[in-house]
Symmetry: C2
Amino acid sequence: MTEINITELTLYCKAFSGLTVEREAILKEIAEELTPHLSRVTDAFYTELDKIDKAKPFLNGKSEGLKKTHEAWLKGLFTNDFDDEYAKFLYHVGDVHVKIELPVEFMAGAMTQIQRNLTPILFELFGNDPERLIAIMEAIIAALGFSLQIMQESYQSSTLVTELDKFLKITGMSRILFNNLAKAYSL
Amino acid sequence: MTEINITELTLYCKAFSGLTVEREAILKEIAEELTPHLSRVTDAFYTELDKIDKAKPFLNGKSEGLKKTHEAWLKGLFTNDFDDEYAKFLYHVGDVHVKIELPVEFMAGAMTQIQRNLTPILFELFGNDPERLIAIMEAIIAALGFSLQIMQESYQSSTLVTELDKFLKITGMSRILFNNLAKAYSL
């Protein structure tokens, strides 16, 4: 993997997704009230995935373990700091997704399902104060967007590395020869 | 570009994002009431992008034209059918994004901004009926997720094609020789 500046990436994705300090604080404020309901979002997620043929190879016999990981991550969204360590973790997840050959559109699809299944729960819990509910929803949209952006950045760079490896294997070319040709080509 | 089955891709992404027939109908139902407010979402989008350094090369001198395209697309989300033609258009957009070298995370970032900036407007217009508002939000989340999934599918496949082209140019290898080696390698 190429060297990346995780602090820079974190700041950039926060600015892009709108994950401000105020919104990070809102997520922590609602953690206690929301957390007991997050298993419903995870359950809905795997119920929906079960109906997608392309998801089957990634679920077979692994659903229970994946559910636990999913719910833990979802809870973390409302308890962890959105710092370099979290960004590094997300970056690693994007990379793992390439290694297990998870199709790229699964990440956006997953965020869509989470966002959609969270919506009625948020109304149920915070619907009596629309102004606060708007702020909560904006914070969640930003946090999910931030997470998706970082995963996709790493998915993309990991894909490029994997593709180059494939070319080199297929052609039997050494990396040194390729790098030299690339240098000569860019002159 | 490799041959893709657009009907299959449309059905798959609809199932994944949860874009049901009922939700497609809801989007059209609210079109008339929502449309006059969509320029606020577009304006907010470009105001936010203006603050992102990495976005500057894509905006320079093009903001006005881009705003028109953005608003028209946004309006279309509530008036067009989510059929093969729309999917083909999105697929083309993903491909164009690779050609203009738009970073991959811009697409997820854009959807995040739209979703976030739509939220207060939806409460303003439909907040008096929370049950309907939930259904409207779920429909919008699904439609944006569907659009993002298709764009990313094509961004990914277009990236792979572009990488192969680059590799062939750098190495001076013909496509026929590469294809033959690839066949031999996979035996």
